[in-house]
């Protein structure tokens, strides 16, 4: 039967909300926790499942600590708020109460990367992936679109242990316009395009940009592979090594600080197993100026034309 969560939403929040409703109907252990942000993320869930919803107010540390307590009582909490407050304000709760205890808590982080670019660095989750990567027992998923979102939530429910699921902008283009062509497996990247010159290892909002850049490059006679690394931890090493077979090297693309995120993870694998040139496209190691996400992607050479430019430089450099 056709499920609402499988609709192709441009926005990922409705997908998140519909899939949460579906899973809570299937599994009564699921509950939702928020820190005064429910009306933005899961308004329908609050109305339809008031008994399974807990608002902790603007007290993120307590929400994540309590989430560990809920999990110890056998429940499956989905605790959600803005990524910067998830990963920084409540970092110790996530590390000590949730990850160290390997508790079955699902962490939903919204506004990751430059999504809240107009609000300033106080609200930007620009280091969240790097922070979560350094925490043992943590699984990190960054869906590229609403299709991956639906699958990520379902797989997170099946998976027993902490999962950090990170969302960026509320709306972004659908990558999997015909639905997923193969099974969504945590820790397994999805190859979306094949090309021998260069490989794009992308995650989250950057996947659709990588596909656009791939289409542009084709016109210039440069052929790129594109992978959606929806899971950043555990990293799909096999896919990284496969991508490393490209003629000129790899470009990693992420809406996160270029230090310690997807690019860092890929470089770690290649450095020890298959040294290849890697360019890391992402947020530079600074506090961004303010602007809309698209303006900021341009400002920091993360937009499609910058990806094309970087790709051309990479191929020329190698030739020259």
């Amino acid at each position: 039967m056709y499920k609402k969560s499988e609709c192709l939403f441009e926005s990922r929040f409705p997908a998140l909300e519909y899939v949460l409703e579906e899973v809570v109907n299937e599994n009564k252990k699921i509950i939702a926790l928020t820190a005064d942000i429910s009306s933005r993320i899961v308004p329908r869930f609050v109305v339809n499942h008031p008994d399974r919803f807990f608002n902790f107010g603007i007290a993120e540390q307590n929400m994540f600590g309590a989430a560990a307590g809920f999990a110890s009582a056998g429940l499956i909490p989905f605790a959600m708020t803005l990524s910067v407050f998830v990963t920084m304000r409540a970092c110790e709760q996530i590390r000590t109460d949730i990850a160290y205890t390997n508790s079955n808590v699902k962490i939903i982080a919204t506004g990751g990367g430059l999504a809240y670019g107009k609000l300033g660095s106080t609200h930007m989750g620009i280091e969240d992936i790097s922070l979560m990567r350094s925490i043992p027992n943590m699984t990190i998923i960054v869906p590229a679109d609403s299709v991956e979102t639906t699958h990520a939530i379902r797989e997170a429910v099946r998976f027993n242990g902490p999962v950090f699921i990170r969302f960026g902008q509320k709306e972004n283009p659908i990558v999997h316009v015909n639905g997923l062509q193969k099974e969504f497996v945590i820790g397994k990247a999805i190859k979306l395009r094949s090309g021998n010159d260069i490989s794009f290892i992308a995650t989250g909002v950057m996947v659709s940009k990588a596909i656009e850049a791939c289409n542009e490059l084709k016109k210039l006679g440069i052929y790129a592979s594109v992978y959606s690394f929806h899971t950043i931890k555990p990293l799909d090493k096999e896919a990284v090594l496969d991508a490393a077979d490209s003629k000129y090297g790899l470009i990693t693309l992420e809406d996160n600080n270029v230090n310690g995120g997807l690019g860092g993870a890929v470089a770690e694998v290649l450095g020890s197993e298959k040294p290849r040139p890697v360019k890391r496209i992402g947020i530079p190691d600074l506090y961004p100026v303010i602007g809309s996400p698209e303006e900021l992607y341009k400002e920091y050479n993360m937009d499609v034309s910058a990806i094309v430019r970087t790709s051309m430089e990479m191929t020329k450099q190698d030739i020259g």
Binding site: N62, G65, G69, A73, G74, E92, Y100
Partner: protein, 273 residues
Amino acid sequence: MKREELIHDLEEKAYLMRRETIRMIVESGSGHPGPCLSAADILTVLYFHVLRIDPERPYWEERDRFVLSKGHAAPILYTILAHRGYFPKEALSTLRQINSILQGHPDMTKTPGIDMTSGSLGHGFSASVGMALGGKLDKKRFRVFVMLGDGECQEGLVWESAMSAAHYKLNNLIGIVDYNKLEYDGEISKIMEIAPLVDKWQSFGWHTRRINGHNMAEILDALNEAIVIRERPTMIIADTIKGKGVSFMENDYKWHSIVDLKLMKEGLKGLGG
């Protein structure tokens, strides 16, 4: 058992728990003796009389939970758990040794009987709120008991948790503050005053009761009262003495940690060891 007999029995057990705890800290050469001794009587009453637990089934879903939010007092809890049969008493001599199940702060994944990992102050209390909420949601009858240190009450997280427990009317959550008035650096009132503690908990919506935390009858009465309180969580503010039971440790903040191992061995003799 008559009440007088029960109290006498609990006093004897607490004496034994103190001795075995000091013995394990001496053997280990590191640990927090002072905070263990102030909590000894309350933990003895909980584990030998109040908690509905089954050491044969440490993960029994309906069991009462206990969270030692002042996780640095782990040795007294380990001693009690071993004497209740959660693991062999021989394990007590492995405290803080490599690969031991008994580390400096409680770990629920390593030690049978530990319901929540703790040690980072404020965290255990926050988790106990989630446990109590989870129990209510699933209509379970278990109660959640949590012990906080008085110095721990300086953590902001404690008050976030306090607010949420009252908001959700967690009458299945019972806290005890081990109010020994001392922290690592000295007197709480000089470092960062937390008084008036009873007023603070009351204004956060908690039922409160102040007791002598070394008087078995008062501990029993306060816990029995807390269990039947409706609509509100209870915080028992227990006046205690840091280092209680070893004369030279009593009320000396320096005995938060080991000051002098040789002297501590002498103290063991005073406890009949």
